[in-house]
C-alpha cells in the first residue's frame, strides 16, 4: 500500500506539499477503518449465512423477514443489543471488565491488516505476515481470561479457564500446520505465499504433495477448535447451561464478543484460503489476476473461497454433537499434534530433497527464507 500512496504523492503537486508522514498516517487510518468496516459487515453477514444455512439443513427457513431474504438481520440484532441495559455486576472488577471485550475484539480484527485480499491489496505487506496473524489471534486468550475473571462469578471463571485451555492448546497444531506451508514456501509473507500458488490449481499447497493435503485438514480442524466453534464449543455451550465467560456481559458488550467470534471465523477461513487454496488465484492457468482492475476480481475469488470454507465450518457445526473437554484435549495432543508435526517434518524433507511436485515451484535456494537457510545461505 505504501507504493500506492507514494505514487499518489508523486502524481499530485498538492499532496507533495503535505508532509509525507501525515499522508501515510491518514492512509493507514483510512485503510484500517475500511478493513474494520468491511470485516464487521462481513461478520454480520456471516451471522446471516450461518442462520440461513443452519435453517436449511434443519428443514426450516432461517431469518427471512428483515430486509430482502433477511440480509439485514444483523442490523436488527445490533439495534436490539444496543437497546439493552448495560449491567455491570457490582462486585466485578470494573476496569478489567470493560477492557476485556476490547481486547478480544482487537485480537480478532487487527489481524486483517496483513491479509492479502488481492494482488497488492494488502493494507500492510509484512514479511512476517503469517506469524503476525497467529500471534495477534493469541491475544484473544488474554481477553477471555480477563472477561471470566472480572465477572466475579464462579461459572464465568470456570468457563473461561476451559476456553483458555482449549484455545491455547489448539494454537500448537495450528501454528505447526501453518509452519509446514511456510517451509514449503520459504517465506512467512502471505503475499509471497500466494504468489507461489499461481499458474494452475495443482500449484495450490493443498494439492502439492501429501503434507500440504494433510496440513490443510489439520489446520482447518485446529482453526475450528481455536475459534471455539463447531464440535469444540463445549466451554461456551455447556457453559450455556451455566453461562460461560461472557455471561455477565449484556447489550453491546456481548455483541462485541459475538462479532469477534465471527470475525475470527472469517479470518481463519481467509487464511486457510490464502495458505492452502491459492489465495486470489482462480486455479485456471493463464489467468493471473494482478492487473489494476483484475486484482479486484482476485478479491472476489478469494471471497468465494472464503465463503466456501465458511459454509464448511457452518456445515460441520450443525452436523455434530459437542466433544467433551477431555476428548477435545485428546484430539489436540494425541491426534492433531502428531499429524501436524508429521506435516512439518515431511515438508522440510520435501524442501531439503528439492522435490517439487506436479510442475509447481518450491522456494529455490537463493530466494531467501528457509530454503536458503537450509542450503547454507544467510539467515
Amino acid at each position: 500500500m505504501q507504493a500506492w500512496l507514494d505514487s499518489l504523492i508523486a502524481g499530485s503537486e498538492l499532496l507533495q506539499q503535505v508532509p509525507a508522514g501525515l499522508i501515510y498516517t491518514i492512509g493507514i487510518l483510512g485503510a484500517c477503518t475500511l478493513v474494520l468496516l468491511f470485516a464487521s459487515l462481513l461478520a454480520g453477514e456471516v451471522v446471516w449465512l450461518e442462520r440461513r444455512v443452519a435453517g436449511r439443513m434443519q428443514a426450516r427457513i432461517g431469518p427471512n423477514r428483515v430486509g430482502p431474504q433477511g440480509l439485514l438481520q444483523f442490523l436488527a440484532d445490533g439495534l436490539k443489543l444496543l437497546g439493552k441495559e448495560d449491567i455491570i455486576p457490582a462486585t466485578a472488577d470494573k476496569a478489567v471488565f470493560l477492557m476485556a471485550p476490547v481486547i478480544v475484539f482487537m485480537g480478532a480484527f487487527a489481524a486483517y491488516c496483513v491479509m492479502p485480499f488481492g494482488y497488492g491489496l494488502v493494507p500492510a505487506d509484512m514479511n512476517l505476515g503469517l506469524f503476525l496473524i497467529l500471534s495477534i489471534t493469541s491475544i484473544e486468550v488474554v481477553g477471555v481470561i480477563m472477561a471470566g475473571w472480572a465477572s466475579n462469578s464462579k461459572w464465568s471463571i470456570l468457563g473461561a479457564m476451559r476456553e483458555v485451555a482449549q484455545m491455547v492448546s489448539y494454537e500448537i497444531p495450528l501454528g505447526i500446520a501453518a509452519l509446514s506451508v511456510a517451509i514449503l514456501a520459504g517465506t512467512l509473507n502471505l503475499t509471497d505465499i500466494t504468489l507461489q500458488q499461481g499458474g494452475g490449481i495443482w500449484n495450490w499447497y493443498v494439492f502439492r504433495g501429501p503434507f500440504g493435503f494433510i496440513g490443510f485438514f489439520a489446520f482447518f480442524i485446529a482453526a475450528l477448535a481455536s475459534l471455539k466453534r463447531a464440535p469444540f464449543d463445549l466451554p461456551e455451550a455447556e457453559s450455556e447451561l451455566v453461562a460461560g465467560f461472557h455471561t455477565e456481559y449484556t447489550g453491546f458488550r456481548f455483541a462485541i464478543f459475538f462479532l469477534a467470534e465471527y470475525a475470527g471465523m472469517i479470518l481463519f477461513a481467509m487464511l486457510t484460503s490464502v495458505l492452502f487454496l491459492g489465495g486470489w488465484y482462480t486455479g485456471i492457468p493463464g489467468i493471473e489476476l494482478d492487473g489494476a482492475g483484475s486484482r479486484w476480481i482476485g478479491f472476489g475469488v478469494l471471497f468465494a473461497k472464503t465463503s466456501f470454507l465458511l459454509f464448511v465450518m457452518i456445515w460441520v457445526r450443525w452436523s455434530l454433537p459437542r466433544f467433551r473437554i477431555d476428548r477435545v484435549m485428546y484430539l489436540c495432543y494425541k491426534v492433531l499434534l502428531p499429524i501436524s508435526v508429521l506435516c512439518v517434518v515431511g515438508a522440510a524433507a520435501q524442501v531439503w530433497l528439492g522435490i517439487t511436485l506436479a510442475g509447481g515451484t518450491l522456494a529455490a535456494p537463493g530466494e531467501g527464507g528457509f530454503a536458503d537457510w537450509l542450503a547454507g545461505g544467510r539467515p
Binding site: 464449543d233 447451561l241 452436523s319 455434530l320 454433537p321 467433551r324 473437554i325
Partner: protein
C-alpha cells in the same frame, strides 16, 4: 431430597464445605479422594457449590440441581424439584372426575394421551364402567402415536443437550405432523382432552386413518436419519457410552421404570407383563439393554437406543391395531352424574417415561376423596442423586438428558 435453609452459592463456601480428608468417609471412591488421602490429611481443598438453576436452556423444565464439585467431578448432587407444582392431586379432591381429566394432560405434557389413558382407566375401573372395544383400540392407537411423538422428542432433545442441534429440528418435522394428526382428532396439539371416562371423544374418520398411514410410513422412512446423526456418530458414542451407569440393583432400589429400567437389563414392560386395555392382543418386542453395541448395560447410550427401538415397536403395534380394530361405539353410556362407589384402586400404565400410577380413593361422591399420581419422572430424576457421584459435569448433562424427565410429571 431438598434441604430447607440450604443456600448454595453463598459466600462462605470455604467454611462450610472444607473437606479435610480426615474422619469423613469419602462418599464414593474416586481417584481424587485417593490422591488426597495419600497427599496428606491436612491438605485443604474447597468444594465448589454450583447451582444449575431452574432456568436453563435444556428443555427439561424447571429443575434445579445443586452440585458440589471438586474441579470437574461431581461429589454430591441434590435435585430441587417442586418449581412446577400445580396441585393437580389436590384439585382432584375438589372437582368431579370428568372435570379432573383435563388436569391429567398437564402432568406429563409431552405424552398427554398416555396420562389420560391411565387416569381414565383408573376412574373406569373404580366406577365399573365398561369401555367399548372400539374405544379401547382407539385408545391404544392414540397412546402409541403419542409414545412415538414423545420418544421422538426425547431423541431430539437428547441430541440438543449434547450439542447436536440438527436432529432436534428434524424430529420436529415428524412430530409436527403427528401433532397435526392429534390436533385433527381432538382439537389440541399438546393437551388433548380426548380420552374421556367411558371411551374416547370422537371416532376416527377415513381420512384421518389415511393420514395416519402416511405419517407412519414417513416416520419409518426417517428414523434411520436420526441414527446417522446420533447413534452411529462417534462423537455421540463417546459422549454417551459407559456414562451414567444405572445398574439393575440401583434401578430397582430407586424405582426407576421405563427405558431406564430396561437399559439396565431388566426385561419389564407393563404392556406385556401386566397387560391393560387391549395390549395383550398385539405382538411386539420389548427392547432391552445390551452390552457391546457401543456401550454397556445401563448407560446413556443404551437408554437412547431403547427409545429409538421403541418407536419401531410402536409402529408395529399401531399397524396391528389398525388391522384388528372392530366397528362399534366409541363411548359407553355414562350416567348424567358419574359417581364412583366407595373404594380405592391403583392402576398403572406404561408411559413413554416409565410407569405412571394413579391411585384413587373414593367415598361415593362425584368427586374423589384422594387422588395420588405416581409420576415416573420423579423416580427417574431421584436416582441421579446416587448415580451422578463422580461424573464430570458434562456427563451430568448427558445423564439427566438420558433420563428424559418432564418436570410436569415430577412436580404434578
Amino acid at each position: 431430597m431438598s434441604d430447607a435453609g440450604h443456600t448454595p452459592g453463598g459466600g462462605d463456601v470455604a467454611e462450610r464445605d472444607v473437606y479435610t480428608g480426615a474422619g469423613e468417609p469419602a462418599p464414593s471412591p474416586s481417584s481424587v479422594h485417593e490422591r488426597q488421602e495419600l497427599v496428606g490429611r491436612d491438605l485443604r481443598t474447597e468444594e465448589l457449590v454450583l447451582n444449575i438453576g431452574p432456568q436453563h436452556p435444556a428443555t427439561h423444565g424447571v429443575l434445579r440441581v445443586v452440585i458440589k464439585t471438586d474441579g470437574e467431578f461431581v461429589r454430591e448432587l441434590e435435585p430441587h424439584v417442586g418449581n412446577l407444582h400445580r396441585c393437580a392431586e389436590k384439585i382432584g379432591e375438589s372437582v368431579p372426575y370428568y372435570q379432573w381429566l383435563p388436569y391429567v394432560d398437564r402432568m406429563d405434557y409431552l405424552a398427554a394421551m398416555c396420562n389420560e389413558h391411565v387416569a381414565a382407566m383408573a376412574i373406569e375401573k373404580l366406577g365399573g364402567v365398561e369401555v367399548p372395544e372400539r374405544a379401547e383400540y382407539c385408545r391404544v392407537i392414540i397412546a402409541e402415536v403419542q409414545r412415538i411423538l414423545s420418544h421422538l422428542m426425547a431423541i431430539g432433545v437428547y441430541g440438543l443437550d449434547l450439542g447436536a442441534f440438527t436432529p432436534f429440528l428434524h424430529q420436529f418435522r415428524e412430530r409436527e405432523r403427528g401433532m397435526d394428526l392429534l390436533d385433527h382428532i381432538s382439537g389440541g396439539r399438546l393437551l388433548y382432552h380426548y380420552i374421556q371416562i367411558g371411551g374416547v371423544k370422537r371416532d376416527f374418520s377415513r381420512e384421518w386413518l389415511d393420514e395416519l398411514d402416511a405419517w407412519l410410513a414417513s416416520v419409518e422412512r426417517r428414523l434411520p436419519e436420526y441414527n446417522t446423526l446420533l447413534l452411529n456418530n462417534r462423537v455421540f458414542q463417546q459422549r454417551t457410552a459407559h456414562i451414567g451407569l444405572i445398574n439393575e440393583e440401583t434401578a430397582k432400589r430407586w424405582g426407576v421404570t421405563g427405558p431406564g429400567l430396561r437399559a439396565a437389563g431388566v426385561d419389564w414392560d407393563l404392556r406385556r407383563d401386566v397387560p391393560y386395555s387391549v395390549y395383550d392382543r398385539f405382538e411386539f418386542e420389548v427392547p432391552c439393554g445390551e452390552s457391546g453395541i457401543a456401550g454397556e448395560l445401563g448407560d446413556c447410550f443404551n437408554r437412547h437406543w431403547i427409545r429409538v427401538r421403541e418407536v419401531e415397536e410402536s409402529l408395529k403395534i399401531i399397524r396391528q391395531a389398525l388391522a384388528q380394530m372392530p366397528e362399534g361405539p366409541t363411548m359407553a353410556k355414562m350416567p348424567k352424574s358419574f359417581k364412583a362407589p366407595k373404594g380405592e384402586i391403583y392402576v398403572r400404565g406404561e408411559n413413554p417415561r416409565g410407569e405412571l400410577g394413579v391411585y384413587i380413593v373414593s367415598d361415593g361422591k362425584p368427586t374423589a376423596y384422594r387422588i395420588r399420581c405416581r409420576g415416573p419422572s420423579f423416580s427417574n430424576i431421584a436416582v441421579i442423586t446416587e448415580v451422578a457421584r463422580g461424573t464430570m459435569i458434562a456427563d451430568l448433562v448427558a445423564l439427566i438428558g438420558s433420563q428424559d424427565i418432564v418436570l410436569g410429571e415430577v412436580d404434578r
